[in-house]
């Protein structure tokens, strides 16, 4: 996957050309859509301002082709012949592209370096692309990093501190004379656009009283009214200067109206209190010699413009420091990008070792017989410590290597040494005729989803070495969502819908899902063919201060995306403040780190996969927070009649987990299928039977109806339904009726996270 920037800016193209290619903010979705249709770009966004038109994209495959697609698209959309702008176009890839995006967001590439608007424009462009699901993991991370860099540049350099417009320069000078402008008074002599602009700026900064003098008293009154000021006669302006602190003069007088002698007299009467004179008239109103009087500071329009010019120069100096910051950040980002490739390996390594630890621990516990809980805990702790110590060195080394080119080699070796890829024995007994040749995996382009897909792909490839396993990261069809709010498309996430369409159309062969995202009712013709072994199904608490749930202070802000977690946590801690949290795991952790929240609750599996397990403060046992239906399990959805793929993915299926999932989903289906309800269920295999726990909670967590059943593994669906019936009879029905404002079915039962 390649990060790509294609565009032109004030640096390469004249204003006429930029105007011809300009896209207004409201029109951005259209060309974005065209880009999606006519190019192979996996992710894309379009930044268009009067100074630049740029496409940021993640492309799979030939860069040249992607660039051509983008240019064609720009040319067609604005109906500008390609030849007119082709030589003005720049193309950046990899590190250069990252650098360019950082520089643009930090306003280093702007015409007026340091101007603040560009960051907002890029943010808007990003959210427009995001709303149309044109962005995925790569651009999301790139842009979030770019915004972070922009913030750093702004706070650590003086790039945006000095005024670069005449009126703001005037305000800044006034501040250097008077300090705080609150309570100061300003006198306007004459009128004019520039004078009003400066006045507005001063008022924004706290100036309180406004006096207006004009040769036409009516005009003075009108202007004074506009600014809640007081009009005075033109003849009186010299007297008024005795009390005013700032004077803006802008009359059409053909000669000076204030001489040095006048000023000397005035400053005497002012008892030498400083006065700031701004003369923006042409020809000038105030004799330049007035500046020689002590405590008088006179600036005319040329002076102010000179200040602006030198401020711009000052900014250029600061820009160099900003460039250094950006250079460092680009390095950090590229390293991160490379290190991403090793995350799945790190996770599987940890899983493998944990598996061994768990099994050995169970065996040892069985042999040791009666132990106190403390002794058990001590043994478990020892085994955990050993695992952590053994893994620490290879993991750090791998992460370090990952940042360099040799990363992939290390992962291959490690996978082989620890046998992290499943053995090919599974293939035994399958007829050659049924061997899959092509396995196209559809996935959502988020970090987690991509990881899951990669994980599944690796296992499939290992089991079927001759098959051509490939990914199709879904670009969700933007055209279907334009009239409908995102959350309401059939109660189903758009990407699920569009992937299922692709599956039915035969464009892909399988979809990798987080089981908890999969609606209870599948479209006709599709089936869940395989379910992977359950990973850690628990929810975890990550708190900023390291406090556990019980220790969090009353009123602490807790972020979560799911009603299920919210209700269960409120049940224990009704004093906490729940905040709805959206976005991917990285975004959530960042929000926590930014101090917006005291703690967040997320799924353990996701956190571990992203290599963030050291951030976990507390694991919730199912007694505290019962997991979502299907939590920690991947499901493989295929076409029901596709027996070849069914056979291929059978290697992934974990029989016991599959049974448990059937039970959990039957429970959910009986309760009404889905919609956003605080419902939870978790099943475990015990010998030949399944023990299933489930609950329905009210939104505020005050009421929780829970129950538990056990039954044979042979009929899991009956088991799930019976538990649902049990809960409905014992008080769950009124809760659900209250929650089901609208009857829905088949929707997702947990927010996608």
């Amino acid at each position: 996957m390649e990060i790509l920037v294609v565009g032109l800016s004030h640096k390469t193209a004249p204003i006429e050309l930029r105007e011809r290619l300009y896209v207004a903010e409201a029109d951005l979705p259209k060309p974005l859509e065209m880009l999606g249709e006519s190019t192979d770009l996996v992710e894309r966004m379009l930044v268009a301002t009067c100074n630049r038109v740029e496409v940021y994209a993640a492309a799979d495959g030939a860069v040249q082709k992607a660039v051509e697609g983008i240019t064609d698209c720009l040319a067609t959309y604005r109906n500008v012949p390609k030849a007119d702008f082709l030589d003005k176009l720049y193309t950046y890839t990899a590190g250069e592209a990252v650098r360019h995006v950082f520089r643009v967001a930090s306003s280093l590439d702007s015409m007026v370096v340091g101007e603040p608007q560009i960051l907002g424009q890029v943010k808007t462009a990003y959210s427009i692309a995001q709303a149309r699901e044109a962005t995925g993991m790569i651009l999301t991370n790139l842009m979030e990093q770019a915004f972070h860099v922009a913030k750093r540049v702004r706070s650590e350099t003086g790039i945006a501190t000095s005024a670069v417009s005449v009126s703001s320069a005037a305000v800044e000078l006034a501040r250097k004379i008077f300090g705080d402008l609150a309570g100061r008074s300003v006198l306007i002599i004459g009128a004019g656009e520039m004078a009003e602009l400066a006045l507005r700026h001063l008022l924004d900064d706290g100036v309180r009283s406004v006096l207006v003098a004009n040769r036409s008293y009516d005009r003075a009154v009108a202007l004074a009214q506009q600014f809640h000021g007081r009009a005075v006669t033109f003849e009186a302006f010299r007297q008024e200067m005795v009390s005013a602190d700032i004077v803006i003069s802008s009359t059409a007088a053909p000669h000076v109206i204030l001489k040095k002698e006048d000023m000397q007299a005035i400053i005497q009467q002012r008892r030498h209190r400083p006065i700031f004179l701004i003369d923006i008239a042409h020809p000038r109103d105030i004799d330049p010699a007035c500046n020689e009087v002590d405590n008088v500071y006179l600036y005319d329009i040329d002076d102010l413009q000179a200040v602006v010019a030198s401020n711009l120069q000052e900014r250029a100096g600061e820009a160099e420091r900003a460039e250094a910051i950006i250079e460092r950040e680009v390095g950090v980002y590229l390293n991160w990008l490379r290190s991403l490739d090793v995350v799945p390996t790190i996770v599987s390594l940890r899983e493998r070792v944990e598996e061994i630890r768990d099994a050995e621990l169970q065996k040892a516990m069985g042999r040791l017989g009666d132990l106190t809980p403390e002794q058990r805990e001590a043994i478990a702790a020892m085994s955990r410590a050993m695992v952590n110590k053994i893994l620490h060195q290879p993991m750090t080394e791998l992460k370090r290597r990952a940042a360099h080119q040799e990363g992939p080699r290390y992962t291959t070796v490690l996978r082989r040494l620890f046998g992290l890829d499943p053995s090919p024995d599974i293939r035994r007994g399958t007829g050659a005729s049924a061997t899959p040749k092509v396995l196209r995996i559809g996935t959502r382009a988020s970090v987690l989803a991509l990881w899951q897909a990669k994980h599944v792909a690796a296992r499939l490839q290992a089991a079927w070495p001759d098959a051509n396993v490939s990914f199709v990261a879904m670009k969700t069809a933007g055209d279907k969502i334009q009239q409908v709010a995102l959350s309401q498309v059939g109660g189903k996430a758009l990407w699920v819908q569009s992937m299922e369409e692709a599956l039915l159309d035969g464009r892909i062969d399988l979809i990798v899902h987080s089981m908890k995202d999969v609606p209870t009712d599948l479209p006709h013709g599709l089936t869940i063919a395989a379910v992977t072994e359950r990973e850690d199904p628990r929810d975890v608490l990550i708190s900023r201060s390291g406090l556990t749930l019980a220790e969090l202070p009353p009123g602490a802000a807790l972020g979560t995306s799911s009603l299920r977690r919210q209700a269960q946590i409120l049940h224990r801690r009704p004093d906490l403040r729940m905040v709805v949290l959206r976005g991917n795991v990285h975004t959530r952790v960042r929000k926590l780190d930014a101090g917006e929240l005291d703690a967040i609750i997320v799924a353990a599996a996701g956190i571990k996969r992203l290599g963030l397990s050291e951030r976990i403060t507390e694991y919730f046992s199912p007694d505290v927070c019962l997991p979502a239906i299907g939590q920690g399990v991947l499901g493989i959805e295929i076409r029901a009649e596709d027996s070849v793929t069914a056979r291929a993915v059978a290697v992934l299926d974990h029989r016991e987990t599959h049974r448990v999932i059937l039970a959990e989903r039957a429970f959910l289906r009986r309760l009404g299928g889905g919609c956003q309800v605080p419902v939870a269920a978790h099943g475990q295999v015990e010998g030949d039977s399944i023990r299933l726990k489930g609950l329905v909670a009210s939104l505020d967590g005050k009421t929780i109806i829970e129950g538990e059943v056990a039954g044979p593994m042979t009929d899991p669906e009956a088991l799930g339904a019976s538990l649902a019936d049990h809960l409905l009879e014992h008080g769950a029905a009124p809760i659900l009726e209250e929650l089901f404002g609208r009857p829905t079915s088949g929707g997702p039962h947990e927010a996608y996270d």
């Binding site: 650590e156 350099t157 250097k176």
Partner: protein, 271 residues
Amino acid sequence: MAIDQFFFYLALLGYLLGTLHYLLHIASRRLSIGRAATYATLAGFGAHTLSHIFRIYALRRPPLGSLYESLSFFAWAIVLIYLITEFRYGNRVIGAFVLPMVVLAGSAAAALPRRIAELGPTLQGVGLWIHVALAIFGNAAFALTFCTGLMYILQERQLKSRHPGKMHFRLPSLELLDDVGVKSLLFGFPLLTLALITGSIWAEYTRGSFLPLYGRETWSILSWLIYAGLLYARLSAGWRGRKAAILAIIGFCLVLFTLIGVSLLRGGRVL
């Protein structure tokens, strides 16, 4: 090395680090560096205070008997007054001007002989110590007046030139500088006045002459007159800004001469 010496050098190190960080803070505008400057100065001040305490304990008298001691005390008083100003105004740029002066005073003190002077019987007594402490505190306040005056003149020149440069952005507003200038003057002047009065009484008492017309006393009275004039001009004639700043600078030069110059001319004797 005596323990008070150790802490004195530690204080000097703190002030030196403070100076560096205040200057870096101005150059880089980074808040973290500014904070570091304040912490370094605070640490230096703490060490300096300890140094005084140990010396008082060793001498069984206030550490104001030699030029070294009074210079050290002078530096200490400046830091105290400056830190109060920084906390009240929340501005660290002044520190970049004050702290170098502190380091200078401290280093000058360090270069002077530090043996404990045997003071004659006439040079003892509570009255004398009060006189010296008052004079030093008053002069320390004037050091701040001097620094803000200097900064005022720099900033005013920037503004008057109509082409304000880098310095302009970093210096505080004229209003703030003038305000600190007048407040430090109002604080220092009564102290200096009292110092002169106690000094005269002490002179009358020990030497029998009320108005010594030679040496340091003359210079002291001269600088007192300048500050009196400055205060009068500010309060009654509405003097402010540049002229007031210039006068504050001249006044402080006289103070420095009185404190150091005269002593050196007389071979290092303070009293």
